[in-house]
Amino acid sequence: MFSLENITNTTHTWLNQTFSPTLALLTEFLIVGVLVIGLFAVLGLVLVFMERKVSAVMQIRLGPNRVGPMGIFQTLADTLKLVMKEGLTPNGADKFLFNLAPFVVMITAMLILAPIAFAKGFQMWDINIGVLYVSAISSISVIGILMAGWASNNKYSLLGAMRSGAQIVSYELSAGLAVLSIVILSGSLSISDIIASQQNGWWIFKGHIPAIIAFVIFIIAVTAETNRAPFDLAEAESELTAGFHTEYSGMKFALFFLAEYVNIFIVCAIGATLFFGGWMPFHIGSWTAFNNIMDYIPSSIWFFGKTFFLIFLIMWFRWTFPRLRIDQLLNLEWKYLLPISMFNLLLMTFVAIMGWYF
C-alpha cells in the first residue's frame, strides 16, 4: 500500500543494495536534509497565508486575493520582497551576537523536529526520552531571543527580549506539568510509545477531566511560549515597535519570522501527539469495524489534520482576546495556572492509580 513508511523502507533498501553502506547513509542524510528544508519553506508559506486568511475571515474581509488565484502566491511574493531587502546591522551593535541570533533560533526550531512522528513509522529519531528532549531543546530558543535583543543596541529590543524571556520561562512550567500528566497515563516518555498507548482512544477522551484540564493549560501555555497574541508582549507593536527583532531587516528578520511560525507548528504537533494521538486514527475502544474504516485514512493526514486544527485554534485566540499587560501575564501564570496544574497533576495521579480511565 502507498504510505510514507513503505516509501522510506523501499528507498532505504534500494540505496543499500545499489551503493556502498557509507554512500547510502550519506545519500539518506542528504535526502532528509533537503526534506526538512523543504518542510520549513512550505510551512512558512502555508502558515503565513493561513494566518492572513483566518484573520480575514474573522474580521469579515477578503484577505490577500491579488497574487495568484485566491492570493495563494502572496507569501511567495512577500518572501521575494524580503530577499531583495538590505540586511542592516546597526552601529554599535554587538556584530557577532547580532548575526548569530537568527541561527540559534533556527537551529533550535529545526532540532525539535527530530522526535516528532509525522506518520506511522515516519520519524527521524525514536528517542526514548522524546518528551523530555522536546522540552529541553525548546527552552534553548529563549537564548537566541535574549541574544538578539541584547546585541541590537536598542532599548525596545532589550525590553522585548527580557519580557519574552520572563514569559517563556514562566509558562514552560505549566506546559511541562500538563505534558507530565499525559506521561503518567501512558507510562513512557517516548513519542512512539505515547502514540501507541492511544490505540483504543485518544487521551483527551480517555483521561477524563484531568486530561481536559491539562489540555486547556497546555494550549494557554504554548500560546504564551510562542509569543502569540494575546501573550505577544515581547513584540507588542504598539508599545515596543517590534520587540526583540526591531533592528533586524531583510533575510535575518525573515528567519525570525519563519522560526516563529515553525515553532507554532511544532508545539501544535506536540499537543496533537500527546492529547489527540498524533498519527493514530480516531479509534473507539473495541469497535473493530469502525476502527478499521478509520484506518483507511492515511496516518499523515490524521497528523496534519489535528496539528492544523490546533494551529487554527491558536490563530482564533489572536482575534478573540485583547493583549495582556506584563503584570497580568505573570499573575495569570504564577497565581492561577501553576497551582492549578500542580493540583491537576495530583488529580491525574489519583485517577491513574485508581484506574479510572479507559
Binding site: 528544508i37 552601529n91 529519531w125 499573575n331
Partner: protein, 116 residues
C-alpha cells in the same frame, strides 16, 4: 535514523539560514547613508545606551522558576513509573509537592510575585 539525525538537522538549519542570507547579500545593492545605521527608536534620536543598569524586576521570577524547574526534572522519572509503583509513589509526591508549595506560598506572602 538515530542520533545522527541531530547533525543532519543542525547542518540543514545552518545551510538554510546561511543560504538565505547569502542570496539576499547577492541580490541587494546597498546604498551608503549615515542615518541607516542608527538605532530605530520610533524616529526620536536614541539617547544613552541600553547596556546600562536599570531595574528589571524579573529576577525574583527567575529564582522561583529555578526551584520549580528542578522540581519538574524530578517529576519526569517519577511520572514514568508512578502507575507501576502505585500508592507509595503518590504519597511521596504529595509530600514533595506540599513542601514546594509551602515555599511557593512563602514567596507569595513575601510579595515576590508582586509586580514592581
Amino acid at each position: 535514523m538515530g542520533a545522527s539525525s541531530l547533525i543532519v538537522l543542525i547542518c540543514a538549519a545552518v545551510a538554510f539560514s546561511a543560504g538565505g542570507i547569502a542570496i539576499a547579500k547577492f541580490m541587494v545593492k546597498g546604498t551608503k547613508n549615515t542615518a541607516k545605521g542608527e538605532a530605530y527608536e520610533c524616529g526620536i534620536p536614541a539617547k544613552g545606551t541600553p547596556w546600562d543598569q536599570f531595574n528589571v524586576g524579573y529576577y525574583l521570577f527567575a529564582l522561583i522558576f529555578l526551584i520549580f524547574d528542578v522540581e519538574l526534572i524530578f517529576l519526569y522519572p517519577w511520572a514514568v513509573v508512578v502507575k507501576s509503583i502505585g500508592w507509595p509513589a503518590f504519597v511521596e509526591i504529595v509530600i514533595f509537592m506540599f513542601i514546594l508549595f509551602m515555599g511557593f506560598l512563602y514567596a507569595h506572602k513575601k510579595g515576590a510575585l508582586k509586580w514592581m
